[in-house]
Symmetry: C2
Subunit: 262 residues, 2 copies
């Protein structure tokens, strides 16, 4: 398959590596920042193009892996040719955005967090796919199954919900690690002290449901400890507010008869 890739960010980088490994060739690369496209094209042996209008007629698949707010604009500039398949890789953008411009389109959303410098095993990433017709879906399945063992057909609404749950389970979780980092650094304590706890918290989730392994002062409705923590956090009203809100929620779910902590 000859592929044109629009975008040069984390998803574009990791997906291109997986596609090349599966034997496909990335023929053309475009990025909003042309310098990025030039650099990225060099890295993966593709041609960089200045304009989306320069996509060649012989390209089989066009993959749009740009920021969500650039997807529709990119899709609108593609010079469409018959039987070409246009895909985007976004969690939240509905397939209907592409359907406005082409009869043959779909989504291949990798449910994973990508950083440029961290390698990931693409073959275990859940790929959430959708196609606007059975032929498109068939094609997407074929490519997706070359990249990963974990293929899931979901519709646009389910995909957005998966994205939201990923924001909670990954992005917001990392922000809590960041708050912990700040609390420790402000008091000359090493973040290493928390790493075994973070590892164990995740290990439990690999084998159990979150609802089964909740622990902590709020789970035990230990009002004394929660009050002491809130007092210590007084100088950081933002963290104090989060502490209170999350604790209230945990008490409400796990100790519904105990009322709310103060």
């Amino acid at each position: 398959m000859k592929i044109a890739l629009l975008g040069s960010g984390n998803v574009a980088t990791h997906m291109s590596k997986a596609l090349i490994k599966a034997g496909h060739s990335i023929t053309q690369v475009w990025s909003r920042n042309h310098n990025h496209a030039v650099e990225f094209a060099l890295e993966i042996g593709a041609d960089s193009i200045n304009n989306i209008e320069s996509i060649l007629p012989e390209i089989d698949i066009i993959i749009i892996a740009v920021n969500d707010n650039g997807i529709e604009k990119a899709a609108s500039q593609i010079p469409y040719h018959s039987r070409q398949l246009v895909l985007h890789t976004s969690g939240t953008t509905p397939l209907s955005v592409l359907e406005k411009y082409t009869p043959n389109c779909g989504v291949m959303y990798p449910l994973q967090t990508f950083s440029k410098l961290v390698d990931v095993d693409f073959s275990s990433i859940p790929l959430c796919i959708e196609g606007n017709n059975s032929e498109a879906l068939h094609q997407i399945k074929a490519i997706a199954s070359q990249l990963s063992k974990n293929i899931n057909e979901v519709n646009s609404h389910q995909r957005a919900l998966l994205h939201i749950s990923a924001v909670f389970a990954c992005n917001f979780t990392n922000h809590f690690y960041y708050i912990a980092q700040q609390i420790l650094e402000n008091n000359n304590l090493n973040f290493d002290l928390l790493r075994p706890l973070i590892q164990e918290t995740t290990d439990k989730i690999m084998l159990n449901m979150p609802s089964e392994v909740q622990t902590g002062p709020a789970y035990r409705n230990d009002e004394q400890t929660m009050e002491e923590h809130l007092a210590i956090l007084q100088a950081q009203p933002n963290w104090q507010e989060l502490y209170q809100k999350l604790s209230q929620d945990i008490v409400k779910i796990h100790q519904p008869s105990s009322g709310r902590p103060k």
Copy 2:
């Protein structure tokens, strides 16, 4: 060393196993619920006692591993004998609570999340220790280093801060996994889809600082996606509020010049 253990919960259970493995014997066990004490004593080959007053004079170390709000009451009931060491295992209770009752006391706080049914490798758990005099501290160090390779001397204030950061990094994180679980279950999606993402999020933290590996719509200040997510969460005002608050914080930290997302 002859040890009396007050408490029969998760910390008491896991710490007693580690102590026995290190060659100590748990001689007496007390629990607020006497049936728990009987059951626990049977399991670890100890005697169960009905009253804390029954702790024998020949006991070398008394470990108080009860809920925080029960520590002072338990400490006040111990029949003190010279050279006995009294420890508690709590993150937030200051050492001064024990000092009111005995001249020889300290803390051994395991910075880990324990569930009764999940085994943990005690030897890698950070033990945060404190003693009220050099002899007590020396004794605590000796015991702690038999249980774990990871011994850290911290004062009561630092220990409370470690506990608070553990609440963010473990308890609140698990609550976000729970929210993700709910979002998926409500929409017939399998939580398994998120497990590789959760694993990768943690793997990154083992090698990087949280501030270096933040990703997601808020990190990119992708207002369109955040607004769509907030709209989808409209039926769940609680999750919507958390989404908004966390996103605002992430934008403020990582995109400080962009203003706040709406």
